[in-house]
């Protein structure tokens, strides 16, 4: 029986995992870097252990330190969250070797799915459709052209060890091929220490649709419907929803079965996500498998009513899935907006600082997963996500309107956020129609300014607010009402006194 879990992560996902643990009566252990000594996940845990300086390479990415903390805390198990060490097969193995339970898939499955070429090969052998392309890395420049000719331009050169858009090049014509190949190889080598690249057909404006699966050690494997994550910026998902407006019951069943095939092909256990590219004719191709809990898992929880983290713990503890395929039912529609500390008016540049004001929306159909409170710092060292704002609605339309309402209630002062951007997307006709693709933002929002507001009465009120604040402050200074007023007065009289003396002397 798992009785104490160390969460090898920070921010909202650490808090999210702790919440499920608490509901299961499981004690929680946080780890924290220097920057996170005062973080919400540190505060929320039952116990907390310091694991080093702020850079993640010296703290959250150091497996030994985490296992050491788990031993000091007498934890039974480690939950990795997402990111950091979540898809590190070696760490998963270290955890097992230390006699701890790893709340995640077997190291072998992580390893296979982490290598894109191996993953392609594995799932293809199980009959899973993949994007047309090749199962082997490019050996030499000579074979390059002949390979491409077989599938035709445009093509994508991808790093076998890839991720996050690194070591990736789109090529539209033969003359760019060789330089793109060399560029991708050297980037892959720098980023992953592995220069293997391979070729896939480039699918223009695809939709990104993924299937959540959950497998136990007793041979049960169930799919929990799909999520559409087509709204991306800088190769990163920003808005996700479930179900997908494209997917009908037939496609869902087909994708679900395919996802289970892919999972079984690598001996998968625990929660995982099989990502597909899809076109508007409902063709779909295996893209990769994420061997962890995803950022966007709450939208699946909202439409299925299943707590995925609890289920992860149950499965890691040797339990059978608490549901079977037949009992999984989808109800309503859920949307997630990732609330990053960033400036959407300035190419989504990260924003750091203190949350001077912080109040989350609430009421019907709202779920906020966050790892901050008022006064929290958004540190420079990590992903600048403040929270995931999720809504549930009986229909997609209701969910969209509810998201708009929730965004309008959200109060964050001190850092720039993507809230105005999300509001603009929720209002966009193409989004409302469900006409999505991974190029959505480029297609519809290029050089858009989100913070511009055209409602005269709001601009007028903002102007009045600034004036009134200054008016109040100056009154306070002149009458000395508050402590702030006092200190200003002290300063002023000090300066005047300081000025006066030499003048008197000069007379």
């Amino acid at each position: 029986m798992i009785k104490k879990v160390l969460i090898a992560n920070r921010g909202e996902i650490a808090v999210r995992v702790m919440r499920s643990c608490r509901e299961l009566g499981i004690a929680t252990v946080a780890v924290f870097s220097d920057a996170d000594v005062d973080a919400f996940h540190t505060r929320m845990a039952d116990e907390a252990y310091h694991i080093g300086p702020s850079p993640s390479s010296e703290s959250y990415l150091v497996g030994e330190k985490i296992i050491d903390a788990a031993k000091r805390a007498h934890a039974d198990a480690i939950h990795p969250g997402y990111g950091f060490l979540a898809e590190n097969a070696k760490f998963a193995q270290m955890v097992a070797d230390a006699g701890l339970i790893w709340i995640g898939p077997p190291p072998k499955a992580i390893e296979v799915m982490g290598d894109k070429l191996a993953a392609r090969k594995t799932v293809t052998s199980s009959g899973v459709p993949v994007v047309p392309g090749f199962e082997k890395a490019i050996d030499d420049v000579d074979s390059l052209h002949s390979q491409v000719d077989k599938i035709g331009y445009p093509i994508l050169i991808k790093a076998a060890a890839g991720g996050g858009g690194k070591g990736m090049r789109t090529v539209y014509s033969p003359e760019d091929l060789e330089s793109a190949y060399r560029g991708a190889m050297s980037e892959a080598k720098n980023a992953f220490g592995d220069d293997r690249v391979y070729i896939e057909k480039y699918i223009e404006k695809p939709r990104h649709i993924e299937i959540q699966i959950m497998a136990d050690t007793h041979g049960n494997c169930v799919y929990l419907g799909e999520r559409e994550c087509s709204i991306q910026r800088r190769h990163q998902k920003v808005i996700e929803e479930a179900p997908s407006p494209l997917v009908d019951e037939k496609m869902r069943r087909k994708m679900g079965k395919t996802a289970i095939e892919a999972a079984k092909a690598c001996g998968y256990v625990n929660a995982g996500t099989v990502e597909f590219l899809a076109d508007n004719d409902r063709n779909f191709y295996f893209l990769e498998m994420n061997t962890r809990l995803q950022v966007e898992h709450p939208v699946t929880e909202l439409i299925t009513g299943i707590d995925l983290v609890k289920e992860q713990i149950n499965v890691a503890d040797g339990g059978e899935l608490s549901f079977d395929q037949k009992s999984v039912a989808i109800r309503g529609h859920a949307i997630e907006c990732r609330i990053y500390a960033e400036d959407p008016d300035n190419n989504f540049m990260p924003s750091t600082g203190e949350l001077k004001s912080y109040r989350e929306p609430s009421g019907p159909g709202i779920r906020v997963d966050s790892g901050v409170v008022e006064g929290s710092q958004i540190p420079i060292y990590y992903d600048p996500m403040i929270s995931k704002l999720c809504v549930w609605g009986a229909t997609r339309d209701e969910a969209i309107l509810r998201m708009k309402r929730a965004l309008s209630e959200y109060r964050i002062c001190g850092v720039s956020t993507a809230i105005a951007f999300h509001e603009t997307v929720m209002d966009h006709e193409a989004f409302r129609k469900g006409d999505l693709s991974t190029h959505f933002i480029d297609d519809h929002f290029k050089d858009r300014k989100y913070s511009v507001h055209n409602e005269e009465h709001i601009l007028r009120a903002a102007a009045v607010a600034a004036c009134f604040y200054d008016f109040l402050e100056s009154k306070r200074i002149s009458t000395g009402g508050s402590s702030r007023g006092d200190s200003s007065r002290w300063k002023n009289s000090g300066r005047i006194a300081g000025l006066r003396k030499p003048m008197e002397n000069g007379r």
């Binding site: 965004l407 903002a462 109040l472």
Partner: protein, 168 residues
């Protein structure tokens, strides 16, 4: 007290006066129904203007005001109207300075230089890439101009507010 307030491309003349316990408001010469309550935290308050409700928060920031209203933060400048008029008459507009440099908006690592000293750059063109929070961030020029000086090198870490590039 009369203010000249600027927000986005709009200007408002805002008159505020204390009449006993209440404050009167005049915007662009016309009196407006106004009611305001502040709690202990004086920079967060509720305004009722013509019975419309505004739950606002005002913070001073670099000599301007950052006003949170209707779910967004706006930058507002507000100055004494007479001073503003005098300045206008004297031709002393507030200068658009600060754009002849590129300042790092965050601490990070210089990962790449897109332009070099002597390059002609148009407004909106990328000049330098800073890596922070696991992402590469392209810093763009805010003006058309020629690069006079680049003060950092790839691989160098920089602080927030550090000057990275100077234009002629």
């Amino acid at each position: 007290m009369s203010y000249l307030a600027k927000i986005q491309d709009r200007e408002f003349v805002v008159g505020l006066d204390d009449k006993g316990k209440t404050t009167t408001l005049i915007v662009d010469g016309a009196p407006v129904e106004f009611r305001c309550t502040t709690r202990k935290n004086k920079h967060r308050f509720l305004m009722l203007i013509d019975s419309k409700s505004y739950d606002v928060e005002v913070n001073r920031k670099d000599g301007k005001f950052s006003v949170f209203i209707y779910g967004r933060e706006f930058e507002v400048t507000a100055e004494d109207e007479r001073l503003a008029k005098l300045r206008k008459v004297a031709g002393l507009e507030l200068s658009d300075d600060g754009h002849k440099e590129i300042i790092s908006p965050m601490p990070g690592l210089v990962s790449n230089l897109i332009k070099n000293v002597g390059d002609q750059v148009s407004k909106g063109e990328g000049v330098i890439i800073i890596e922070a929070m696991k992402m590469e961030n392209e810093l763009k020029s805010q003006i058309d101009g020629e690069i006079a000086e680049i003060l950092v090198k790839p691989g160098q870490s920089v602080d927030k507010g550090e000057c990275l590039v100077r234009f002629k």
